[in-house]
């Protein structure tokens, strides 16, 4: 039985979050987002020319996200540079999570590159990456319908909870389900949904509700961070 969370959080409580915009000076837009010891940096370059040419779309610009763990960012062995099947899949679902809020029709044959880099991770890294990327896209001045906020929810033993940490993902004494979700805060629509683990259908509904509540807080933090940059007149 998972009665109490190891780090003392309430079941619907997110780890300590931190967000900042404009953290990489050379980029067109940038931000970091942190869930506890999971840090994601995102930088946006573009819209810019896309090469090789066969990748170009003459009807609209394309979004290209790249999720990458730094070699020293895992609590286990060194992560080999160059990307894995896992990082490629996360890059894909991240692109899909962000695309619905963008309008790239104005930029035929161009690309918007989003680079997500993780200096340290302890679960929840794809959600942190999406949160940082959404802020960086806004910082880059791209037209957006909405922001995107993401969090993972899940089931550990018989408890439903928000923002699983590493020990909870690895809980061995009962079933675990891990569900990263990204939401467009204004419309409420869902742009990322993945799950691994076992979960009764009724619980999914409850968990999406919990994710919505957590994403509301994340959204507020993202907005505050964006306003902060322009308040300080940079």
């Amino acid at each position: 039985m998972y009665e109490k969370r190891l780090d003392g959080r309430d079941f619907d409580e997110v780890r300590k979050m931190e967000a900042k915009v404009g953290v990489i000076k050379r980029a067109d837009g940038s931000a970091y987002f942190k869930f506890g010891n999971t840090w994601a940096y995102a930088a946006v370059y573009g819209p810019r020319n896309l090469y090789p040419k066969f990748l170009q779309d003459p009807s609209r610009g394309i979004l290209r996200c790249n999720y990458n763990m730094m070699p020293f960012s895992s609590s286990g062995e060194r992560v080999r540079p160059g990307g894995s099947r896992r990082s490629k899949e996360i890059s894909l679902v991240t692109t899909n999570a962000l695309l619905p809020v963008l309008d790239l029709d104005e930029f035929p044959n161009s690309v918007v590159d989003v680079f997500i880099e993780l200096p340290q991770t302890e679960a929840g890294s794809r959600c942190a990456g999406i949160n940082a990327a959404a802020m960086a896209l806004a910082d880059a001045g791209l037209a957006m319908k909405d922001l995107v906020s993401a969090v993972s929810v899940g089931r550990v033993g018989d408890k439903l909870l928000v923002d699983l940490d590493y020990s909870e993902e690895a809980y061995e004494e009962g079933p675990v389900a891990d569900i990263p979700i990204a939401i467009m805060p204004s419309s409420g629509k869902i742009t990322l949904l993945q799950m691994d683990g076992l979960l009764p259908k009724e619980d999914l509904k409850t968990l999406i509700g919990m994710a919505r509540k957590a994403c509301r807080r994340i959204y507020n933090l993202q907005k505050t961070a964006l306003k902060e940059k322009y308040k300080s007149g940079e």
Partner: protein
């Protein structure tokens, strides 16, 4: 491009630089933040002006080289992240990244600041491997000096993880530190036209004729050199660049050990 070069050279003749610095002046502040990432066994985040480089060390255990059965080793990697510069591309390390990693590697290895024999666990079978990675976060010029500084700072910060029954327990860090018996630093001196500068910006890097990266030990002994840029230089110039590097090296070493 030619205009930029002309402009830079003209300014340098008047002892001026685009950003208002003196010719032999580093950008400020130079900051080193050790232990910024908890997942690494040692780390350092270096800022020289707007240039930011992260360096992390992961310790691993592996087989020694057959010709050095009782010595561990260090393996240095460098990644020029496309996040840090619009001209860097994703993919396997290009020649720029390889040169950076190798120059950082030599600065450390040749200074003999690490006693590789102390990294031996069982002769001929198991030794510690120091996996050091340099990651660029924002490239505003002079990655060489920032990377070398970060590498030594990260090594100074490194502790061994617990090793028991042929397995590393990364979750448990011991209080055994990696011993370093010197603090080598690297200074890159650039020649543009007839002038010498240190700590080049991106614009200055674009127009430089020659650069010389000089790694020195605390006692002033040279431990690694790397000439870059496609122009030829005189012996006199080389000696002058080394003198500059020795002088500025003291300043960097002060930041490193201060």
């Amino acid at each position: 491009m030619d205009n930029l070069k002309e402009h830079v050279v003209t300014l340098l003749k008047l002892n001026k630089r685009l950003d208002g610095r003196k010719l032999l002046e580093y950008r400020k502040p130079i900051k080193i933040e050790r232990g910024f990432t908890k997942t690494a066994e040692g780390s350092a985040w270096v800022r020289i002006g707007e240039t930011e480089v992260m360096v992390g060390v992961k310790m691993d255990v592996g087989e020694p080289y057959p010709d050095k059965p009782d010595e561990g080793t260090i393996i240095v990697g460098a990644e020029l992240l496309p996040l840090s510069n619009p001209n860097f591309e994703a993919g396997p390390p290009g020649i720029q990244a390889i040169e950076l990693a190798r120059v950082v590697d030599r600065g450390i290895r040749e200074s003999k600041c690490i006693d590789f024999k102390k990294l031996c666990i069982k002769k001929g079978e198991k030794v510690w491997l120091i996996m050091l990675d340099v990651i660029t976060l924002n490239d505003a010029g002079n990655l060489f000096d920032a990377a070398a500084l970060g590498a030594v700072a990260a090594l100074q910060d490194t502790v061994f993880p617990k090793y028991e029954g042929d397995k590393i327990d990364y979750k448990t860090k011991t209080n055994k530190k990696l011993e370093l018996n010197d603090s080598p630093v690297s200074v890159t001196v650039c020649k543009i036209g007839d002038s010498f500068i240190v700590d080049p910006t991106i614009e200055e890097e674009k127009v430089l004729d020659t650069r010389l990266t000089v790694a020195t030990k605390s006692d002033g002994t040279l431990c690694a050199l790397q000439k870059g840029g496609s122009s030829a230089v005189t012996e006199e110039d080389i000696m002058k660049m080394i003198d500059i590097a020795l002088e500025k090296g003291k300043e960097l070493r002060g930041v490193l050990n201060g």
